[in-house]
């Protein structure tokens, strides 16, 4: 047991009241803690940023350290949509459908210049940023971004997941945000 303690790190417990045999805190904080450390990402990789993501998932950078060991290749079980690469206008409706198939709560990370803004592809056939069709939580710049930057984006997502109010997804503000994108 003592040997293990040096090698694994435990998630920090949220603030609460502790006593002999009990620990009291708010449900929101516990749920946030659990969600934060068990994000299932759906990689939507269309080009070179996807290659950087492969490195991020590899042993050297190892996204699994942050609780995202299990990638979800079905949007229905995914928590986080990671869009990595150029999205052509023809791909737009497909990306949107993938987003709509995800269950709440869901987060979106836009990786790389192309997904964020169209990047160098300022042309009639390329979507000039995925935030034109779906809401985005975290933008990772770079062309392509290094795995460290993608990890940094994941940490930012983790922070959002941890601190999000349990009622946020039912709020009129959130509904208005989705309506802005024409999503019911």
């Amino acid at each position: 047991m003592s040997e293990l303690h040096g090698r694994i790190s435990l998630a920090e417990k949220p603030p609460g009241i502790e006593g002999a045999g009990f620990f009291a805190t708010s449900l929101e904080k516990v749920v946030g803690l659990a969600r934060k450390n068990s994000i299932w990402p759906l990689p939507f990789a269309t080009s070179c940023c996807g290659i950087e993501f492969m490195a991020t998932m590899g042993a050297h950078y190892d996204l699994a350290r942050f609780g995202s060991e299990r990638l979800s290749f079905s949007p229905r079980q995914a928590d986080l949509l990671m869009v990595m690469g150029t999205i052509a206008k023809k791909m737009g409706p497909i990306l949107r459908q993938v987003y709509e198939q995800m269950a709440e709560p869901r987060w979106v990370m836009s990786v790389g210049a192309c997904a964020c803004s169209g990047g160098i592809f300022d042309t009639y056939s390329v979507l000039q940023g995925i935030d034109r069709i779906i809401p985005v939580d975290v933008y990772v710049p770079g062309c392509p971004p290094r795995p460290e930057q993608i990890l940094d984006g994941i940490l930012k997502i983790q922070h959002l997941v941890e601190t999000e109010s349990l009622r946020r997804r039912d709020s009129p503000e959130y509904k208005a945000l989705l309506n802005k994108y024409g999503i019911e």
Partner: protein, 175 residues
């Protein structure tokens, strides 16, 4: 200058289609002919059926826009696999009504190439079994490879022309 074999091909074509050949040239060793639009299907059939020439493989087919001539050209490149010889044919269509018969009856592979040419240049291939856009989004209203349409996405706000050392709308036709 054309080789002896190309001269022979040219003689055969001139005998049959002398009035329809506008000009001939050799580009990168490939015999290249500008021909009248009305004769293109007959010429391609002739090249296909001729017992010696046997141009039975369609390498490619594409559109080219010449805004200074107000014309859209369609280029066909054929390959004779038996003789390992290539030939290039070019027809000229008016910009405002580019129309020419399909060659899908002869080459099934021309189907997608003609759809692509329609998609990007608006060339209508009459008799084509399924002439609709192939690469661009279905609801696109323009033919993007025509020069009057700018390359850039017009809704992008973060790119200003002066950042790239160009005048606004420099890429648009001035006429």
């Amino acid at each position: 200058m054309e080789s002896a074999e190309q001269s022979e091909t040219l003689t055969l074509l001139t005998e049959r289609f002398g009035d329809s050949i506008l000009s001939t040239d050799v580009h990168y060793g490939i015999l290249s002919l500008s021909v009248k639009q009305a004769a293109i299907v007959d010429i391609i059939h002739f090249l296909y059926d001729h017992p010696q020439l046997r141009y039975q493989y369609l390498t490619t087919l594409c559109g080219i826009h010449y805004p200074e001539l107000s014309q859209i050209a369609v280029m066909y490149q054929l390959h004779s696999l038996e003789n390992n010889k290539r030939i290039r044919l070019k027809i000229w269509l008016p910009e405002d009504k580019p129309e020419t018969p399909t060659i899908t009856n002869l080459f099934a592979g021309a189907n997608w190439m003609e759809r692509e040419t329609y998609d990007f240049f608006g060339v209508v291939f009459t008799g084509h079994p399924d002439l609709r856009r192939i690469l661009n989004v279905e609801d696109m209203t323009i033919f993007p490879m025509r020069k009057e349409y700018p390359l850039e996405d017009q809704t992008r706000e973060d790119k200003k022309d002066e950042m790239f050392g160009r005048l606004p709308h420099q890429h648009l036709r001035t006429s």
